[in-house]
Subunit: 310 residues, 2 copies
């Protein structure tokens, strides 16, 4: 079962001819979650041959144009394509106030419903949950209210080891309890721990998207052990002061968060258009955290299945 | 002195990975006029190495998203680039009502003024005039109020033939009058026509942009003799009924307008995304009007200087 992130846009506010503003697609077992939606996202979806119809949830980190100016175009196109399923938009409360009049005017005949979900970007809160993922808001520090998103895979209930069913002659009721996390108490009072009774298909995988933010020294601790971290890296060491002033991070700072969090892999992006190449970003990040990659347009970062406890 | 049109986007509502929604740039002696502004226009401007700062006037044919969803991104980018000169937007009156709240929210610190000019798309009216061009609205017939734009080059006052100045011993006052179109009355009552006294640098060149419209049989007569005509051609003969139903034209109908108007060249665009290739469009248009070209992304159509009357 796939768990992957496709980069649709990697640049900061000023797009170049090659790099688009922020947008990413998370694919969890062929359920698609769009994260930010900069101008040109729908063209990038096409370029990457991603089926628009599989997107039911869009998460907007903050209301700066380079993270959402592709929304109207995408929604309009989904309408022309005859979409019927509800589309869920998670964003700051102001998005609905601003975009509802545009939807009413430009997409009057939309054959589906756009459902706005107001999120509080200042809190760590579960903002969405379905059978594939749980999404938590990650408060960040930018010039305006901004949050990232932590996606944690949901893998369903574990199976009971066949040998245990036979050995302990488990009833249906006991099996249900054990699947839901209970230990087993034997007649002689011995406790068999849940982990000894079950087989998980794999451990839940996780991805955190940390959109525009200044360096937050405590962030790594809160994102401990996630598999894949995207952290913005608008600037290099040379513009450290500018980063702080504008509410952004350097590549090195992104790597410091990744190192502290002991993530499986770090992706950096949201590059300032003053840089034609991204070599400097990568070099400076890798000095701190070697497992760093560049969020290049069209790059796909897949998290492999992690065997569970058998 | 250049008079050219660069195609930035040629597709209809659903962009493909190769063809963007409608946007064009008219260059008149290095003064740039943007015509429609579909999503991705700013990326296309960069791709074509066009200097954003030279755009002072934007003309929006109608308020369908594929003709304007690139506006906010472009304006936002112009702000980040530090633009200071006013930016003039010509469009249906609803544009200001819809976009002012977005400008106030997303571009609060814009270092320049966005000046909205409400146009009446139902009238042939001069909507803008400067020292380079005169722009006239061209009423079209689409599903919503829509107009095209006729750009007519202004070439300044003509020069007086040197030989005439000597022969008729013209005073400064007489020269000014003749430059402004007056004939010359000699002492014996003879009239020397203005055209015999002056030298024009060249004849004014013209470009008409006919955005989304169903076929208007009388349109060609009204655009008689223009040099370059863009006429939408969303469909081919096979979808003639669909064209009528959706307020669009076929390639053949676009060519019929061009033929009637006896234009120098026809450009067709706004292609339905059902067509991967544009061969069929070109073939059917050229059967009626051979001087037809496809509005391909990045194509530049230049109108050569036409010698005046010497």
């Amino acid at each position: 079962m796939v768990f992957s992130v496709t980069i649709l846009g990697s640049n900061s506010a000023l797009p170049t001819s090659e790099r688009y503003p922020t947008a990413q697609l998370l694919n969890v077992a062929e359920r698609f979650y769009l994260i930010d939606c900069g101008e040109g996202t729908q063209m990038q979806l096409r370029r990457n041959k991603i089926k628009f119809t599989k997107i039911n949830h869009i998460f907007i980190s903050h209301l700066h144009g380079d993270h959402l100016f592709g929304l109207m175009g995408l929604i309009s196109t989904l309408g022309l394509m005859g979409r019927q399923a509800d589309l869920h938009l998670f964003a700051h409360v102001d998005l609905e106030r601003l975009y509802r009049p545009h939807l009413d005017y430009f997409c009057a005949d939309l054959p589906f419903k756009v459902v706005f979900h107001a999120i509080d970007p200042h809190q760590w809160l579960i903002i969405h949950e379905d059978d594939k993922v749980m999404v938590t808001s990650v408060p960040l520090r930018h010039r305006i209210a901004t949050c990232g998103f932590l996606f944690t895979e949901k893998i369903g209930l574990p199976n009971i080891r066949k040998s245990c069913i036979e050995q302990y002659e488990l009833s249906i009721a006991e099996i249900v309890k054990i699947k839901n996390g209970a230990d087993l108490r034997l007649d002689d009072g011995t406790i068999v721990p849940n982990d000894d009774l079950i087989v998980r298909s794999h451990l839940p995988r996780s991805y955190a998207f940390c959109s525009d933010t200044k360096y937050i020294p405590s962030l790594g601790e809160k994102l401990k052990g996630i598999d894949l971290l995207y952290h913005e890296a608008t600037f290099t060491d040379a513009e450290k002061d500018l980063a702080k002033k504008t509410g952004h991070s350097t590549a090195r700072q992104a790597a410091m968060v990744a190192k502290q969090a002991e993530v499986g892999k770090l992706i950096i992006g949201h590059f300032s258009s003053r840089y034609k190449q991204t070599d400097v970003y990568l070099e400076q990040a890798r000095e701190v955290f070697p497992l760093t990659e560049i969020a290049g347009e069209g790059c796909v970062f897949e998290v492999a299945v992690k065997p569970g406890i058998f």
